[in-house]
Symmetry: C2
Subunit: 207 residues, 2 copies
DNA sequence: TATTGTTATACTCTATAACTATA
DNA sequence: TATAGTTATAGAGTATAACAATA
């Protein structure tokens, strides 16, 4: 103990509650206490909200977030072993099997037996998988655009940087043995639209 | 809003682009493609990492994140109905029952029958629950402190603000009917005292 | 009829042990 | 013996339907 006391005013924020400002009727606003300053609590909420939008966006393609991440990794790094891809995504290799099955059964990914080590399977996208990934990229842009509409261009970029800064925190849960995988920092180049420009682009339209 | 620049001091990794030698051995770094700029992907990773630290920190008290959140809400808002607490935490009331049971069985929370509406249960902390919550607050500070050690004080505050800014995004998944609950913004006052404290790292170990 | 809490149930995600076939 | 992929299984977390008591 006895350590830096870095300015985190545990202090309650401004006495919110009271006769509310955000409640339509006479309801008293709920006091969230420290939860409003809890990184984990807010991360969980934000993650669920963003995933909800992701899932809705990709529903037409019948692709879940985890499936999309596999397609991206395999597409960008053809020939990786299963264990490498699963470790890169912090997915246990046991749970990775049915996930990969779902993609291979749909003809999007192919397991190829490696010649040098016949235990391992090298992963590649099929032409169909590559074509789908290309379409999914458009959906992905729409999805991220909606986030940017909500946070602003700078806000989204800051968020990406901060989240990347949490890499390696908490002992890297979800990984297999001790396969730590690093993620390169986000290129601060503004993708898609420019900064906080509310370019009405929220029209979710399946490709 | 003064400086809206990322200004991350995390600049230490090599600008790996694909086939560079950022790996200790001859391993080729994995190209994450758009995942490195995917808010959802990075949110998920960060949430898992932060929860891992939270769980380890609160393991001695045998308290999970969801249980902690219930104790905080009930402690701050005694007398709320079950449905109000569950809605505030985006937990379906059906799933809230066993969660509450676990706290009531341990004598931390008490269901009291409301007089005006005998269908509902008003929730209160027991003295034991209030005492535990007080101890948990210390663990919570240690936990958040470690996050701050990783991100810097400003970084953590920015993160809280950005995450709060995603409130209401994605249609609010996880809620019961249409009970939207708002969360007040964090103490966004730009008290830019000191940034990060590089010296004191790993202030505390999970008890 | 609508709401509150509840039970039962199912589906997803995650975690551990053990098996096989290679090395 | 160790590793890559697999199977089986168990545990959380989350989803819907339906019921009893109450409004």
């Amino acid at each position: 103990m006895t350590d830096s006391r870095p300015t985190r005013s545990t202090a309650r924020r401004t006495p919110v509650s009271s006769t509310t400002s955000a409640e339509p009727d006479g309801e008293t606003a709920i006091d969230y206490g420290v939860l409003g300053e809890s990184v984990g609590f807010l991360l969980k909420r934000a993650q669920m909200a963003v995933f909800a939008d992701f899932i809705a966006t990709f529903a037409a393609a019948d692709i879940r977030p985890a499936q999309f991440s596999v397609l991206v990794i395999v597409g960008r790094n053809p020939g990786l072993k299963q264990s490498q891809v699963s470790a890169a995504l912090s997915i246990k290799r046991t749970n990775f099997v049915p996930l990969l099955d779902s993609l291979e059964d749909r003809g999007l990914v192919k397991r190829k037996m490696a010649a040098m080590d016949r235990r391992s399977h090298a992963l590649h996208l099929t032409p169909k998988g590559a074509a789908l990934l290309k379409e999914l990229s458009l959906l992905w842009e729409q999805h991220e655009q909606r986030i940017q509409d909500k946070l602003g261009g700078d806000g989204r970029t800051q968020l990406l940087t901060l989240l990347t800064g949490l890499e390696g925190f908490g002992g890297a849960a979800g990984l297999d043995e001790a396969d730590l995988v690093e993620l390169p920092p986000p290129t601060a180049k503004p993708r898609g639209r420019r900064a906080a420009k509310p370019a009405a682009k929220s029209a979710a339209e399946p490709a």
